[in-house]
């Protein structure tokens, strides 16, 4: 039965301690109501402009610090047609280089998205040019046959690289602002979760038949829950959501473990809410309270039992123990942040087709006392085409739908995105994109 109950989510008004995640609601920015032209999603000319003026200017997520713990450890990531080589240095800092030999342009390291262990130098397999882990030439065979000498660059071309939140970031813009400035409010908001304590549990890349922004959009609003994810109506409140837009980035706070105002309470606790209780160590069968009190009771339970389960929630507020604090770091990182786990999506453009993208899916888990470190093995990064692997029911539902959105966007009968207030984050994302394109 379709309903629209009056429901107000009780939210924490004060952040947890001085260093807790800020909780206050931001005033909604005035971004107008204009149609977002569909060309941004379908046009190769626009994609090129996006590449030149945005992708080459921003900070981008490269890998995780623990992918490359020791000097010489390295990791190759790709963005568009670029391949980036990220290398741990002797002094523990990290450098990022274009993964290209200065001689004839061969890729220096061919392995992709997989941490490569300690290497004392990099040797191009084409003509054996060698580079140190600091990127400088160490050997050019038959150098005397180059009358002009070695290339002036002195080795691999370096680019800005820095770390935050257990992640390594790079930028193809040598004049980019410092990472901390670029991230703005993000470290202040997300440091309390201590991502460095979480372990990687899955990493997958799937090629989707849609523009990368169609994917970012899908995670930036919950208006589509009733259509695409009806089962979540028995798991979260998709209407009373706090949307906060900051300079480049934005977030929304979604209460989990509650019923949507769009459904009525069944006489039994809905299975998805039972799941929330079980994860917290509660027995749904023993629960005597009302379904409307479960979120608060789960918060209390985790607050009391977290420490004995080996989970340190001391810097998180009670809402953070149940809810989804959902952040988008411009341009392409989507973070579903929870006390016990992080589900991170990175949306990458296809190198030459705006109708395709690469969806990177990473999950991290906060280990508790029962976590089996002996059998834990860092998952291998696997790559798939659309439909070849399951990413769980919710993401599968989005993945099924997005190619149809992309097809529709290419239709003569469609002009662009007609956005409502529930989709404010999409509008804000496009505003940030426009700011880059106008520069």
């Amino acid at each position: 039965m379709k309903v629209r109950r009056e429901q107000k989510i009780a939210r924490i008004k004060k952040q947890k301690g001085k260093k807790g995640t800020p909780v206050e609601a931001m005033p909604n920015p005035e971004l107008g109501h204009k149609l977002i032209p569909k060309l941004r999603y379908t046009d190769t000319g626009f994609a090129q402009e996006e590449w030149d003026k945005m992708w080459k200017k921003v900070w981008l997520l490269g890998c995780r610090e623990d992918d490359i713990p020791n000097p010489g450890d390295h990791y190759v990531t790709e963005i568009g047609n670029e391949s980036i080589l990220i290398v741990r240095q002797k002094n523990k800092t990290i450098k990022a280089f274009y993964n290209v030999c200065a001689h004839r342009g061969n890729r220096i390291v061919h392995a992709l998205h997989e941490p490569q262990l300690e290497s004392s130098n990099f040797r191009c397999r084409y003509h054996s040019w060698e580079y140190g882990i600091d990127g400088k030439f160490t050997d050019i065979p038959d150098l005397e046959t180059f009358p002009q000498g070695a290339p002036d660059c002195g080795g691999l071309i370096c680019m800005p690289c820095d770390s935050w939140g257990s992640f390594v970031w790079f930028s193809m813009n040598k004049d980019v602002e410092p990472l901390k400035d670029y991230l703005g409010i993000i470290p202040n908001h997300l440091d309390p979760y201590h991502f460095d304590r979480m372990v990687l549990t899955r990493q997958v890349t799937v090629e989707w038949d849609c523009n990368w922004k169609a994917s970012v959009d899908a995670f930036n609003e919950s208006y589509h829950v009733q259509g695409i994810h009806p089962q979540l109506l028995y798991y979260l409140d998709d209407l009373d959501i706090q949307i906060d837009c900051y300079e480049k980035h934005n977030r929304y706070l979604i209460a989990f473990g509650v019923l949507s105002p769009r459904v009525v309470s069944p006489s039994e606790i809905p299975p998805p809410i039972k799941h929330v209780m079980r994860e917290a160590g509660m027995d749904p069968a023993s629960y005597e309270g009302s379904v409307y009190n479960i979120r608060a009771d789960v918060q209390k339970h985790k607050r009391v039992h977290g420490a004995t389960q080996g989970k340190d929630y001391s810097s998180l507020n009670d809402d953070q123990l149940t809810d989804d604090y959902h952040y988008t770091i411009f341009p392409n990182v989507t973070m579903n942040v929870h006390a016990d786990d992080l589900m991170l999506f990175r949306q990458r453009p296809h190198p030459d087709n705006p109708n395709k993208m690469l969806f990177d899916y990473f999950t991290y888990e906060l280990p508790d006392n029962d976590f089996d470190w002996e059998t834990y093995k860092k998952p291998i990064h696997k790559k798939f085409k659309h439909g070849e692997t399951s990413l769980g029911l919710v993401i599968n539902q989005d993945a099924y739908n997005l190619p149809f959105v992309q097809k529709g966007m290419n239709s003569n009968g469609y002009e662009g995105l007609w956005l409502g207030n529930q989709e404010l984050r999409i509008r804000h994302f496009h505003k940030t994109l426009e700011d880059y394109l106008e520069k």
Binding site: M1, Q231, V263, S267, K274, A285
Partner: protein, 254 residues
């Protein structure tokens, strides 16, 4: 056919919503005096008001937690006294399904099984005083055919069918008939199948197609079967389990 329910006194547990509520509504429409209960005083008061609108007879009720033996027996005796006897008893309340822990077994035992047994033992003396009566237990098709998962709900509801049959033999001489009704999947707003319809439409559609009659049942259709079996229209029926499922189950009931 006259069901002769005018002036009859009916006690129904768990009767402010769902199937129990529809049973109460129908008895009220047929002119019976009806006593209802649930755990929440607000729901009881609201239901009494609403049912009274369609009733000729007396509609009464009070909050009662069936799990508490004394509270339950007090409710039965209070209701019997207020109505002036008991003719019909429908132990309807259930703890529902679930496979969360052993606790589910305890809950179904306490609510579904003991909630029936204690009620029956408390009403039989009242029925004896009136020279007869009728009891209809609410079981489920999940008791007679494999359904969903091996959960306590299915097994405990099965116990009621056997219990009803034996009671019918033991109390037949006193003019007390005992039957059970086993509904299949029933749709109503706010019910379990409402949630399934919203959250897993494909499974819902598949379930609909499994029914010989091509749809899920309504609580009113279950109520009709319960009210009929309770009435003098079913005077020669005792010890049966009436499957009310639109052809959902496939077994032959020899």
């Amino acid at each position: 056919m006259d069901l002769n329910l005018r002036g009859k006194n009916v006690l129904i547990t768990g009767s402010t919503q769902g199937i129990g509520r529809r049973i109460a509504n129908l008895f009220a429409e047929e002119g019976a005096n009806v006593a209802i209960c649930s755990r929440s005083p607000e729901s009881v008061n609201k239901a009494i008001k609403e049912i009274s609108l369609m009733a000729d007879g007396k509609i009464i009720g009070s909050p009662c937690n069936i799990k508490n033996k004394e509270e339950y027996e007090t409710w039965i005796n209070d209701m019997a006294e207020e109505l002036g006897g008991v003719d019909i008893f429908i132990p309807n309340v259930s703890a529902g399904g679930g496979m969360d822990s052993e606790k589910n077994w305890w809950k179904n035992f306490e609510i579904d099984v003991l909630g029936t047994v204690r009620g029956v033992e408390a009403v039989i003396p009242h029925m004896e005083l009136r020279g007869g009566g009728s009891i209809v237990m609410i079981s489920t098709t999940a008791a007679v055919e494999t359904f969903m998962a091996p959960q306590s709900y299915n097994a405990m509801k099965a116990a009621l069918i056997t219990y009803a049959k034996q009671l019918s033999q033991a109390h037949g001489e006193k003019g007390i008939r005992v039957n059970s009704v086993s509904p299949g999947p029933i749709y109503f707003d706010g019910g379990a199948w409402d949630m399934i319809k919203i959250s897993n439409e494909r499974f819902y559609d598949k379930t609909e197609k499994t029914h010989a009659l091509g749809r899920l049942g309504t609580p009113e259709e279950v109520a009709k079967a319960v009210v009929f079996l309770s009435s003098s229209g079913a005077s020669w029926i005792t010890g049966v389990n009436l499957v009310v499922d639109g052809g959902y189950t496939k077994r032959v009931q020899f």
